[in-house]
């Protein structure tokens, strides 16, 4: 018995240390190795995804946002219905699977877990936006819809047209130079709203703030698996040009919100709530303040509420500005958050001529 065990161990050590096992990506695993690895992967994903809860994914905009990110960030390796994956990606082992039927093979919880965490030894990366579960769910929403349309043999509406070169070169999330249209695809343009509440409207936003946000994403100080790679590819001139173009655009029309909620939000925005140590929002987010602070009345209520929740949950601690707002966001109740979001989204008045604004000249932080 002892001899058998010792012999087995020696054989295993011999195989490992001699280097006979071929790790090349050009030769497939033995069928048995492959089966064991696949089983281990399935079981691991199923076990780890056990605690995940799927949020409401019915929002069309969420799936649309996922679709756009898929085209830029996932399609180069996984391919789309219209485009084969990149030949380099096809030479990977294991090859990145086509995802037409991903939602049939995996539950939404499992898809979420895989996209958020990546898979060891497969080339599948973890989501680079730390703590941005909300973004991962956009991709899950897209993938689950993809299967539905395929199953019904309906139009594959959710496949975006792949940019002409996405399939032929490994080009992850690199925007076309200075392309306002590229940004507007998700962020919306004059007249068109952003694809989803996750995404801010940039029209009429303050220039210095837009530049700051791009710098923070590029330096991994502000977390977003969608924005970080894009912002990183921009140089200073491009950041300035984009910020200028968007700040000059007209803001979208105001939202109609619940009257009571708006009134509550207005009270907090103008006077704060001293008992809960909440300062008035407008003390910083006004036209007289530093242009590094964002203009809130050009944003959707959905976006404001989501960002406040992210700050409250400590997901925006990478920058001084984020930490300042985190202190305040933690004093807000969910009702306060919804109220101020509704107020600012309803407040949008006349388009503002940002170029002639005096605060831009102070050079305040």
């Amino acid at each position: 018995m002892v001899i058998a065990v010792a012999g087995g161990l020696a054989l295993a050590a011999g195989i490992v240390l001699s280097g006979v096992y071929n790790v090349s990506a050009s030769i497939p695993h033995f069928a048995v190795t492959d089966a064991i690895l696949r089983l281990a992967l399935r079981r691991s994903v199923a076990t780890h995804a056990a605690g995940v809860e799927t949020p409401d994914l019915t929002d069309e905009g969420l799936a649309e946002l996922g679709s756009r990110h898929f085209t830029l960030g996932c399609a180069p390796c996984h391919g789309t219905a219209n485009a084969e994956p990149n030949p380099v990606a096809r030479a990977m082992y294991p090859p990145p699977p086509a995802l037409h039927h991903a939602a049939e093979d995996w539950s939404t919880e499992e898809l979420y877990w895989i996209i958020a965490n990546g898979l060891k030894f497969t080339g599948m990366p973890a989501w680079s936006g730390v703590g941005r579960d909300d973004e991962v769910w956009a991709l899950v929403a897209f993938l689950s819809r993809l299967s539905e349309t395929n199953a019904n043999d309906g139009r594959p509406v959710t496949w975006r047209e792949t940019p002409s070169d996405a399939g032929s070169a490994l080009r992850f999330l690199v925007p076309e130079r200075n392309s306002v249209d590229f940004c507007a695809g998700c962020h919306g343009d004059a007249g068109a709203k952003p694809v989803d509440g996750l995404v801010p409207s940039l029209n009429g936003q303050r220039r210095a703030y837009l530049e700051r946000a791009l710098v923070e994403y590029g330096r991994n100080q502000r977390q977003s698996g969608m924005m970080e790679p894009i912002a990183r590819a921009l140089d200073e001139d491009e950041r300035q040009a984009l910020a200028r173009r968007f700040s000059d655009k007209l803001r979208a029309p105001p939202e109609n919100g619940d009257k009571q909620q708006i009134a509550r939000g207005r009270a907090i925005a103008k006077a704060g709530a001293a008992r809960a140590q909440i300062p008035p929002c407008l003390a910083c987010h006004s036209e007289r303040s530093s242009d590094r602070f964002p203009r809130l009345d050009s944003l959707s209520s959905d976006y404001i509420a989501r960002q406040l929740a992210l700050m409250r949950d400590g997901r925006r601690m990478g920058t001084t500005y984020g930490r300042i707002m985190t202190t305040i966001a933690r004093r807000l109740s969910q009702a306060d958050i919804d109220a101020v979001a509704a107020y600012f989204a309803s407040k949008r008045e006349t388009p503002v001529d940002t170029a002639s604004h005096p605060a831009d000249a102070t050079g305040a932080p």
């Binding site: 008035p280 500005y321 050079g363 305040a364 932080p365």
Partner: protein, 330 residues
């Protein structure tokens, strides 16, 4: 080994004695209430010492004394006298003495008719509100100024949790209880500065919740109070003006008030005359330009958990200008 012990005990003794002098020593009194508490303390100490000695003598006689003494001590009368009558007399005396002391202050403020001062304990600083004879109020922070020789009634309140106000050289400590207004009388007997602090654990930065008491001759006090009641000084130099602009555009006014400007926040200390105070951040830092700059950019490092976020968003030049502006608010 012995030498090490000696040194250690020497160091310990020094540490203990260092509390006997200095600006926060309870054994030095600069106020009428504190000196009365001081005499009560010494009387209580003397009586305790006398009682202790008496008990030791009685024990010694009971153990080794002549038979007549042993006999005397074992009688019921000795127990009645020494165990009941004596304690009742001594404790009653101390109780009366203490109660009189507590009441005396109230009567004195009623006679003097000086306007009162309200101090509101907040996490983790003191809001000090001076009531003027005409009914108006002047808000300041983290520093209590008193006119020498005038008993002042100080109302103690809290905006959040229980704090305790204690200025050892002026008087006893008194808790600040949510929903209540406790009144203490303070009368400074000589001009000068002493220090006090929160004496009830109130959370994170409790240890750094202190204040200064500055006693001034009545004439100086009145002059100071009228200056304190005035609006903030307008910035004079280019740097101060830049500092003011930064203050107004960076959101400082969301929490702080500088009277006479658009900064009207009500959450944090009033900064109208912050440059004239002895300290910053509730007696945590000295009051100078360097301290202002450090506080703005790294206050969580200096006073962890305090409720102000760090504004590490300024260039060194901007920080200098901002500090110059705040220092100029005399």
């Amino acid at each position: 080994m012995k030498r090490v012990l000696e040194r250690c005990s020497g160091a310990a003794l020094l540490l203990v004695l260092s509390a006997c002098t200095g600006e926060q020593s309870a054994l030095v009194s600069r106020g009428r209430e504190a000196s009365e508490i001081g005499s009560l303390f010494w009387i209580a100490t003397a009586v305790s010492a006398a009682v202790t000695i008496l008990v030791i003598i009685a024990i010694m006689f009971a153990l080794w004394g002549p038979p007549t003494w042993k006999d005397l001590l074992s009688r019921e009368r000795a127990v009645l006298l020494g165990g009941i009558v004596l304690p009742v007399l001594v404790l009653t005396y101390l109780l009366v003495q203490g109660s009189t002391l507590l009441q005396a202050g109230v009567a004195r403020t009623q006679r003097s008719g000086e306007p009162s001062i309200t101090i509101v304990g907040k996490r983790w600083w003191w809001e000090v509100i001076y009531h003027l004879p005409n009914g108006e109020t002047v808000a300041s922070a983290n520093e209590l100024r008193l006119p020498v020789g005038r008993p002042i009634s100080v109302r103690l309140e809290t905006a959040d949790v229980i704090h305790s106000f204690w200025a050892p050289q002026l008087g006893g400590k008194l808790d600040m209880i949510p929903g209540r207004s406790n009144v203490i009388t303070l009368e400074a007997t000589e001009p000068g500065t002493s220090r006090g602090q929160c004496a009830e654990y109130c959370g994170g930065a409790h240890a750094l919740m202190a204040f200064y008491v500055v006693a001034l001759p009545p004439k100086d006090y009145r002059a100071w109070l009228s200056r304190e009641a005035a609006d903030a000084r307008t910035p004079q130099t280019e740097q101060e003006r830049l500092g003011e602009r930064l203050f107004m555009t960076s959101g400082c006014g969301a929490c702080h008030t500088v009277r006479g400007t658009e900064a009207r926040g009500v959450i944090a200390p009033d900064l109208t005359h912050v440059g004239s105070r002895r300290s910053l951040a509730a007696a945590t830092l000295p009051n100078d330009e360097e301290a202002f700059a450090r506080w703005i950019a790294e206050n969580q490092h200096i006073k962890p958990e305090n409720l102000m976020p760090e504004f590490d968003v300024f260039t060194p030049q901007q920080l200098e200008a901002l500090s110059a502006y705040l220092s100029s608010l005399k």
